[in-house]
Symmetry: C2
């Protein structure tokens, strides 16, 4: 497999974190991957989290969010991520974002080649479709393998897609093992190919195990279906799929679905991504009352998440220090010291942490 | 007034618009403004809309969204904007975004100097506060004047802020004339200084006219108030303010408020910005059924918006051509031609439009 990369730092935004008084950087890298499995060059954009190069994060590993149709959605995705992962009370841990640029999304993202429109009429419009099998190999073995080799990744991978991308996300959950642990499917095109994946799912959801996997499914209030403006087949199929999942609890999947009364097909994707990421990391997200947080409580939470996803999840040293800083700012020296000391256990002799302890105890 | 600028293109992202087959660019500029009124240098980030340099947009002017606390929120803001302004059915016209970086947000954003916490206790914590009067002069006369001189702006300006930024947004609406036409206030800190602005508003909402102004107010389900964890004074004050506005219809303000059951103070700001922009431009936003759109219907919509904001709003030539392209893609040549011909009226002899007409009629 021949892989060539061109690295370009195209974006270096400076963030001013007034609370902690430190300057931070954001990095965006573009990679051109010569894919053997797809037989062509593909563009991939990688967004590193803003603390990737922070002195207290040099040993931290990060989960990865893979975004289908990422060429169009990368600004949106980064905005959603930035909103959730930053601030005093982050809702999710920091992630690396990998935006996959589609060339022909119908070909890449659909699991089968369809020959008819949803209304039953024969069509050649779908002639170039059904390449999801190869496309998964591209993401997992070519993109994913390189991302894992080049960046400090934790092995926790999330896949998200909208419309055909949502269909692909569900296909990957149902039919592909291993690479992804969490999935966010936004108003998926389950009408595709006479609802083929939906019918296949009935069997798979009973016969297969999805232990340690999480799925968030967003359903838009979309009227009409491609080729059938008066039919709600699109919406009804997703709702039926959600029911299937609700009735298949024994397969171990952590599942949540949400119907958005006030959103149609296109206007649902941003909130879907936001709610999906919040669902995946709900065990470790912060609430207003979390000023009562202790080391033990935070550890308990990460234990719950770790058990759920079947991987060891821990707060980063930076998060622990930030909590120390927060309590210090609030005037609670005892709590601040508790978190600083914990951070020092994780990173013994770290000068930045030692300085904080000296400052607070002197 | 001495103003020095340093221009840096720090970000140039390429978008691939598969439907129309054209490459587009995004530009982000950083400006350091030596503010006379604030007596110091301030950083401002300007995001140009992706079609700013499009050959069909060279004569288009753009509205401007001014974002308070923009240093922290600029990725989020740009994500929200990108989500709403792009795609087949954009919900809002393209805008220039100006992110204002706060140095001391309590000082910049609060309209008065407070001496007590909400619980009534005296404090020196708020000693450096109450500079909103000067801060408005900075935005309107120093930042705004330069933005209007340097970029192709339409004169339609939106102000948005969260928390203290929301308070500042309401203060600007109530007490400042002229520069801004639309406002998005996200969970504003109306508890500030013994609810001073709230009490002042009672009088102002009756005595003043707010014709052609729009306000979207987002209310979070936030438990507690600074210094009073058990009191819902924060939330209740905003709700009471919303009631005041509901009962002051005679002042001409276009007003909408929304209570977010499932969002707390920090998690409301992203959806607030999204819903706020959608509200401001609701007259010209696209719905699923808009494939029935005609020239006349689109013009009617822009007339409604123009009457509401008291300024002439028109679809851009690019939007008109894009609609032509959309109908052409859908196989509706007659409609496509209608839009192309309209575009040619707006930009006679334009070669790009002529090419399209030739292609569709040959």
């Amino acid at each position: 497999m021949k892989i060539s990369y061109s690295y370009t730092i195209i974006c270096c935004l400076f963030f001013f974190c007034s609370l902690y008084g430190q300057k931070e950087k954001n990095y965006v890298y573009k990679h051109v991957i010569s894919s053997e499995v797809l037989g062509e060059d593909r563009l991939v954009t990688v967004f590193l989290p803003k603390n990737y190069y922070h002195p207290l994060a040099v040993k931290s590993n990060f989960g990865v969010l893979y975004v289908l149709d990422g060429g169009k959605k990368k600004v949106v995705t980064n905005g959603v991520y930035d909103f959730l992962a930053n601030g005093v009370k982050p809702a999710i841990p920091e992630l690396i974002i990998v935006a996959i640029h589609q060339k022909n999304r119908m070909f890449d993202l659909t699991p089968t080649k369809a020959t008819t429109f949803p209304n039953g009429k024969k069509t050649k419009r779908y002639e170039k479709s059904g390449n999801a099998f190869a496309f998964y190999e591209f993401i997992a073995n070519e993109v994913g393998e390189k991302v894992n080799r080049m960046y400090r990744t934790s092995g926790f991978n999330i896949l998200t897609g909208h419309s055909f991308g949502g269909l692909n996300t569900l296909y990957t959950l149902l039919e592909k093992e291993g690479f992804f642990q969490a999935f966010i499917a936004s108003d998926p095109s389950l009408w595709w190919d006479n609802r083929r994946l939906f019918y296949d799912a009935k069997e798979m959801l009973i016969s297969k195990k999805f232990t340690n996997k999480s799925l968030f499914l967003a359903i838009a209030n979309q009227q009409g279906t491609p080729s059938m403006p008066a039919s709600n087949l699109h919406q009804e199929t997703i709702k039926s799929f959600a029911k299937l999942l609700d009735n298949s609890k024994e397969n171990g999947l952590h599942f949540k679905h949400k119907f958005y009364e006030d959103r149609e097909h296109h206007s649902v994707s941003m909130i879907a991504l936001q709610d999906g990421l919040s669902f995946i990391f709900e065990d470790v997200s912060f609430q207003s009352t979390d000023y009562k947080l202790t080391r033990e409580k935070l550890q308990e939470r990460y234990k719950v998440l770790s058990d759920k996803v079947g991987m060891s999840f821990n707060p980063s040293i930076l998060q622990i220090v930030n909590l120390g800083d927060l309590f210090s700012f609030k005037g609670n020296k005892k709590k601040a010291l508790q978190f600083y000391k914990w951070a020092l256990e994780e990173s013994p002799n770290n000068i930045l942490i030692k300085e904080r302890i000296t400052k607070i105890t002197s």
